[in-house]
Symmetry: C2
Subunit: 127 residues, 2 copies
């Protein structure tokens, strides 16, 4: 079954995700579940708690994500949405933005009360 609103769901999720990341990383855990997976550069994490711990421990004080492209496709297997983001990161007000690519697989929450991130893979493309 294809989720007819896949594009707006994906874009809304990503917008909310980066807004949360850039303003209060400690809240990111709420966007993951116990079976969620994060690949961050060469490291892998499983479960909302481990993922939040990793994201809050990243060694910078301030970060700003600037999205360049957001592409979404439906996942017919589970009513989920696949998202590929490319963008730039400004860390602690640095003058040189870092390019990144990130893919998300977001799926309906149990009880269908919203969406959470099941798969998250993040890579910096050193420009």
């Amino acid at each position: 079954m294809i989720n007819p609103q896949f594009d707006s769901i994906g874009k809304q999720f990503v917008g909310h995700y980066y807004k949360t990341f850039d303003s209060d990383r400690a809240q990111l855990g709420a966007l993951y579940a116990s079976n969620s997976m994060l690949t961050f550069e060469n490291e892998q994490f499983q479960g909302a708690e481990a993922i939040q711990k990793k994201l809050t421990s990243l060694p910078f004080n301030q970060v700003q994500h600037q999205i360049v492209t957001t592409d979404c496709q439906p996942n017919p297997s589970n009513n989920g949405v696949l998202v590929l983001v490319t963008g730039t990161l400004i860390v602690d007000g640095g003058a040189t933005p870092l390019k990144y690519a990130q893919s998300f697989h977001i799926v309906p929450s149990p009880g269908n009360t919203g969406y959470f991130c099941l798969n998250d893979m993040f890579r910096l493309n050193y420009g």
Copy 2:
């Protein structure tokens, strides 16, 4: 159910995909199915035939994909594998490689005879 071989399946698929792309693009259709989706820059295509037509019509004679990173995660919903690739493209022997990011969602074929690409999103990051 998590596919225990997700990492080798994803990497094998991607290696085969780019080898086929760089040697004989006309064979790429065999790696997609009727419900496959391709987002290529700002365009969307559905079905192996439309996807192959797009990929074979790209305006270059020779292309060489050089993978920089390949990250894989299992999709517990369907025994599939999610892959995020970052790399560079050399087009017609040009001196300036183009950076790209590409995400794949590969799933078992009907009859479990192999894997095909269900979701494919491709973006150039103009460096």
